[in-house]
């Protein structure tokens, strides 16, 4: 641990981000809202700018050298994502706007083709709406049953509970790799294994894990996995869906339009092969290239180094939060990452966030797009979430600001 700690110097990392540089007109911010979106390094911003400045053209259309270069860069980004996730081949990667679109794609294209009346889909109680609403809607549309895998009182998923829920009618288990509220790491490889043993597929929402730990689709053995670029130091407007080739082949297309067909006649349309079949219209080309740069950035630091550095920072934050009077922290203690949902005395989370904001500490307050989970927790919470560029000073500033908040609201020192 100690050696790994040395391998990430958060101060040096921050120098790679314009957001953290002194700016004449802007106050510098302690950014603890990384589960919502991360900041972008110079290399990502420049990769996108450079594409639009010098290589901009549409992709996969014959014609000219600029277009050939653009296509090459776009496909290189796909190959990079495949390699980052350890997919078997680049053709298993479909670019989407983000996690939400990727899950909607699977729920619609795969779901409406393969889920029938009476079938079952299992979702967990800790899902983000992105991994909940598409399944609620699919279940309603297909007259399938949505089963909810409840969490334990300490905020974990118990595999025995899953064993009870799985039946031969189960078609899919949809689970997030890391909860965006509780920060716990779910045992996705075991979950996929149990799902497969029951004849079901398994979908993993990796929105919160992609930038913080190694995500290996072959090791997890998931059928579908997706993430958003903007939570992994990349641009908005881009994300990726990984799906086993056999599923992409079996699924009908989702959006239809240019670029995803072989031939269109009035009587008959022949779809292109995956992944093109799922990328109708002009894709987010500059953004895919920016995502490539973001994954390069992550690997330039090293995923093991990031994981162990963030682990240490998480332990520090846990300790400091636990010793702060009036703080009530949610979520499991072991196997957790740097996402902390908490309350402070009976001060409303929005009031807490506002006090922190006046100290230039950015956190989020509310229901975190996970209403059922928030309801289970008893209402809104404050959420502080860490990334690579945070360090112990940031945690200290947060704790001090929480003490200050208590004073503002009249709680004894």
């Amino acid at each position: 641990m100690k050696t790994a700690r040395l391998s990430v110097n958060a101060g040096e990392v921050r120098r790679q981000f314009p957001f953290f540089q002194p700016h004449p007109e802007m106050r510098s911010v302690i950014y603890l809202d990384n589960a919502a979106t991360t900041q972008k390094p110079y290399t990502v911003i420049e990769a996108v700018s450079n594409f639009w400045a010098h290589h901009n053209a549409t992709v996969h259309r014959g014609g000219h050298g600029v277009g050939a270069k653009a296509s090459e860069l776009y496909e290189a980004a796909r190959t990079r994502v495949a390699q980052f996730l350890n997919a078997r081949e680049p053709n298993e990667i479909v670019f989407t706007r983000g996690t939400t679109e990727a899950i909607n794609l699977v729920a619609t294209a795969w779901g409406e083709a393969f889920v029938q009346a009476g079938d079952e889909i299992i979702v967990t109680e800790l899902e983000h709406h992105a991994n909940l609403l598409p399944w609620m809607r699919l279940a309603e549309k297909q007259q399938a049953t949505l089963k909810v895998w409840r969490i334990t009182d300490d905020g974990r998923l118990n595999l025995d509970d899953l064993r009870e829920l799985l039946t031969e009618r189960t078609r899919l288990v949809a689970v997030s790799h890391i909860s965006n509220v509780l920060g716990g790491v779910n045992p996705v490889a075991e979950i996929c294994h149990l799902a497969h043993a029951a004849g079901a597929l398994c979908l993993v929402d990796a929105a919160q894990s992609i930038a913080h730990m190694r995500v290996d689709v072959q090791r997890i053995e998931c059928d579908f996995l997706m993430f958003s670029g903007h939570k992994a130091y990349g641009p908005t407007g881009i994300g990726a869906l990984y799906a086993k080739r056999e599923h992409l082949e079996a699924m009908p297309p989702y959006h239809v339009g240019g670029g995803m067909v072989q031939t269109v006649r009035w009587e008959r349309v022949r779809w292109a092969e995956p992944p093109m079949k799922f990328e109708a219209g002009t894709p987010p080309i500059g953004e895919a290239i920016g995502l490539h740069a973001a994954l390069d950035f992550i690997d330039s630091i090293g995923r093991e180094a990031i994981e162990s550095y963030e682990h240490e920072l998480t332990q520090y934050a846990l300790r400091r939060l636990q010793e702060t009077p009036g703080v009530r922290l949610y979520g499991p203690v072991p196997d957790r990452t740097g996402i902390f949902a908490f309350t402070l005395e009976d001060i409303h989370p929005h009031d807490i966030a506002t006090v922190l904001d006046t100290r230039d500490i950015a956190v989020r307050a509310g229901l975190h797009c996970a209403h059922p989970l928030s309801e289970r927790l008893g209402g809104p919470t404050v959420r502080a979430s860490l990334a690579l560029y945070n360090d112990t000073d940031h945690i200290d500033a947060l704790i001090e600001a929480l003490h200050h908040t208590r004073q503002v609201f009249g709680y004894a020192g």
């Binding site: 409303h348 929005h350 009031d351 506002t354 006090v355 006046t358 229901l367 209402g379 503002v408 609201f409």
Partner: protein
């Protein structure tokens, strides 16, 4: 700035809300909701002869939204509809920092003036007032 937002008077209304509760029928009920943060204010009104004879609120949310609702009930009880409309105007202008001139008549509501420095919180402070406005539409 923070002191202006969380004045004693606001925290007092938050901790000891005036007019919290529900009315027995017949009444007018209006629900107000702020989807970006989950604040909720439900207003019960009784209007007789063009005058608000009783008003209550319930719901949940941050100190600003709940204190604002509490102040609102105090301020509009016994007022005519025209007076209530004027108060809605003044209170929402106040929290947006758009009110010039006479603050005197506003009573406790003046404490909401500090919200103007916190654009993210303006919606919290106006929620009760916008909900009242919707409720009054039911009367007319």
């Amino acid at each position: 700035m923070l002191d202006e937002l969380y004045q004693a008077i606001i925290l007092d209304h938050y901790r000891q809300p005036r007019g919290r509760g529900e009315l027995e029928p017949p009444k007018i009920t209006q629900e107000g909701f702020n989807p970006s943060c989950g604040d909720e204010v439900i207003i019960d009104l009784r209007v007789e002869d063009g005058r608000i004879t009783d008003v209550r609120f319930h719901g949940h949310g941050c100190s600003i939204s709940q204190a604002s609702a509490s102040m609102m009930t105090e301020a509009v009880r016994g007022k005519t509809l025209a007076e209530a409309h004027a108060l809605i105007q003044q209170a929402t202008a106040l929290v947006k920092g758009e009110l010039d001139g006479d603050f005197e008549t506003l009573g406790d509501i003046v404490a909401l003036a500090g919200v103007r420095y916190f654009p993210v919180r303006v919606k919290c402070a106006t929620l009760a007032w916008h909900t009242l406005e919707e409720a009054l539409k039911q009367v007319e």
